[in-house]
């Protein structure tokens, strides 16, 4: 052991700076989870504050907040995961059928563009359509259907659809390029053999492409399911302009924790929600991974 440390001291030195960064960004916060069981006040500092037992959790689950944000988080994620998968794979299969190389490249280039825009920029785009007075939809399209001046930022029921559309616009193109990379890896001999046997285009897709894509689809989906308690914070915070009127349908665990921490300064509540999110998230990842292992040993994360 010691001899090895001396022998490989240069490699160990190479590992050191990055290890320190990970220790600061990841490991110390993990140990910091215990603050959920403390009654933090800044006078005594974090270490000196009195223990609160499960009080913070009692407060959190006494309100309807916890249930609401959990339900929203899970529901949005499930819908995003399933529809994202179906749309990305369909698009990938479709673009693989485009015979013109040039056209295919142009389409791909354009399709991944939305993903390069930050959620702040996306929030401006949504705003340009929905601005209560000048928005393109509000001013030019809705009047055709007899609606005059609608303030979408006051109508919570519209937002699951708006957010779904926004999320899909932002992420489908890139998703389909990932699946396309997998399709390109499928051996062409398979298709040639299928054509010799007189398989139709549709049969080639259902009997060759989809079965061979299944492992990667399953793995990516399972990994996404592991992250079902985490959300795309920007989507729920910026695109909704953090509008209080929309909370019932757009508040997720991430935005709830952020508001508790930064805006309301309610450390007890936000640290309890944070603890709950982290711990359940951990079990979900472990569960998802063991499921992946069961399905296919080679594709599990660990």
């Amino acid at each position: 052991m010691l001899r090895n440390i001396v022998k490989y001291r240069v490699l160990l030195l190479m590992l050191l700076p990055t290890s320190i960064v990970f220790f600061i960004n990841c490991y110390i916060p993990m140990f910091g989870l215990f603050i959920a069981f403390k009654n933090i006040n800044y006078v005594d500092g974090i270490m000196g504050s009195p223990w609160a037992g499960f009080d913070n959790f009692r407060f959190l689950f006494a309100t309807s907040d916890a249930l609401r944000v959990t339900a929203n988080t899970v529901a949005y994620n499930v819908v995003f995961i399933i529809s994202g998968l179906i749309l990305s794979v369909s698009l990938a299969i479709a673009i693989n059928e485009v015979t013109s190389k040039l056209a295919s490249r142009v389409y791909q280039t354009v399709m991944i563009m939305p993903n390069f825009l930050s959620m702040v920029v996306v929030s401006f785009i949504v705003y340009a359509f929905l601005h209560p007075e000048y928005g393109f939809l509000v001013k030019h399209i809705l009047p055709l259907f007899g609606y005059s001046s609608v303030n979408a930022y006051m109508h919570p029921n519209a937002w699951p659809y708006i957010l779904w559309l926004t999320k899909m616009w932002h992420s489908i193109g890139i998703g389909s390029v990932i699946y396309l990379a997998a399709i390109t890896g499928i051996s062409e001999e398979l298709y040639e053999a299928a054509v010799m046997d007189g398989a139709s285009k549709w049969q080639q897709i259902t009997r060759i492409t989809l079965p061979l894509l299944t492992p990667i689809m399953v793995i990516l989906t399972i990994l996404n399911l592991g992250g079902i308690f985490r959300s795309d914070f920007g989507l729920f915070y910026h695109v909704t302009l953090d509008s209080g009127a929309l909370r019932s349908t757009t508040d997720v665990i991430d935005t709830y924790v952020y508001r508790g921490l930064i805006q309301l300064n309610d450390l007890g509540m936000s640290s309890a929600a944070n603890f709950y999110q982290s711990v359940i998230g951990f079990f979900l990842v472990i569960g998802a991974n063991s499921l992946a292992r069961k399905l296919n040993r080679d594709t599990a994360l660990f």
Binding site: Y8, V10, M14, L15, T18, V21, F22, I24, C26, P29, G32, L33, I35, G45, L91, I95, V98, T99, K101, A103, V110, M111, P114, F116, L117, S118, V120, V121, F124, I125, Y127, F129, H131, E133, Y134, G135, F136, K139, W169, G173, V177, L180, I183, T184, G185, E188, Y191, E192, K201, G234, H238, V257, L261, S270, N274, S278, G281, F282, V285, L301
Partner: protein, 304 residues
């Protein structure tokens, strides 16, 4: 894209089918790009026309006053650009170096502590402490409020990229090269910097591009740690502008720039001009992305 699609020789698709595909993808591409063009159009429309006719995809006549205003009062903009550029460049260089330094020993077959250091990374992918302890650590213990370090440090720990780099080393750096380097008496550092890194440029470029984009588009850390207006990044200035239309005016008034009372601020178009100005650099690196993007995607396999 390098991998455009299968050159499916079996695909003698009928002309009609190809036609339908093209129509569909042209429509889809328009759906991807038109929303951005709406922003461009608004930024080029006269303020009065906006308040009368609302936002349209086609300005009646091109009006550059929003951009003129931006560049005439460029102090805020220049500062924000400076912050975004500094953070992006410093962060990217540091991140790539740290990733390569950690990935290389993991690739070395003879390195006895490989398992432990792999495990050290894997844990961070599985379990996170979440926002609250992270925030308290940065603010109360490291005193990083209102510092550029708070914008750079969080982006430096990405386990996923390290695994990608390690996999790339395994696939492309021959072990004989390390051996012969050692026989020639080269030090470990020399082997790493002069032999390993140069042949690993593709993966380093891919990671650099992803990291560049991440830093350029980051607003979350600004929201957490930045109050000082001198340290506002472009993304953060935009957040301020969508929340308070008069942000620019207040900024200038605050910085002691005398504003003419009559000077009207083209608020609506100005906001959108700001968005366009912030997207600019992304379009600039886009061609490089084209080259490395799919390559980066296909290096994916991450087995510990």
């Amino acid at each position: 894209m390098n991998t455009a699609s299968n050159s499916n020789s079996y695909l003698k698709g009928s002309k009609g089918a190809q036609m339908i595909l093209h129509i569909f993808f042209i429509a889809f591409s328009l759906a991807c790009i038109l929303p951005v063009l709406l922003i461009v159009a608004i930024s080029l429309t006269n303020e009065k026309a906006l308040t009368l006719q609302g936002y349209k995809f086609w300005p009646d006549k091109i009006d550059l006053s929003a951009y003129q205003y931006l560049f005439n009062h460029s102090e805020t903009l220049a500062k924000a650009y400076g912050v975004s550029l500094t953070v992006t460049i410093t962060g990217t260089l540091l991140a790539v170096l740290l990733i390569a330094l950690y990935a290389y020993p993991l690739y070395r077959k003879d390195f006895p502590f490989k398992k432990a250091f792999n495990f050290y990374l894997l844990i961070t992918m599985l379990f996170s402490g979440g926002l609250v302890p992270f925030y308290l650590l940065y603010v109360n213990y490291l005193n990083l409020k209102d510092s550029l370090i708070a914008l750079i440090l969080p982006g430096l720990s990405n386990a996923f990229y390290i695994f990608i780099a390690r996999t790339f080393f395994q696939q492309t750096v021959p072990e004989e090269m390390i051996e012969s380097g050692k026989l020639d008496g080269a030090s470990e550092w020399r082997i790493f910097f002069q032999l390993v890194l140069p042949i690993s440029l593709p993966v380093l470029a891919t990671i650099a591009l992803f990291t560049t984009l991440m830093y350029w588009n980051d607003w979350f850390n600004s929201m957490l740690f930045i109050n000082n207006t001198d340290l506002y990044s472009l993304q953060y200035v935009m957040i301020q502008m969508i929340r308070q239309a008069e942000f620019f005016k207040n900024q200038l008034a605050g910085s002691g720039v005398a504003l003419l009372v009559q000077e009207s601020v083209p608020t609506e178009s100005l906001r959108m001009a700001m968005v366009i100005v912030s997207i600019g650099p992304i379009l600039f690196i886009y061609p490089f992305f084209q080259k490395y993007f799919t390559k980066g995607l296909t290096i994916g396999a991450i087995k510990g």
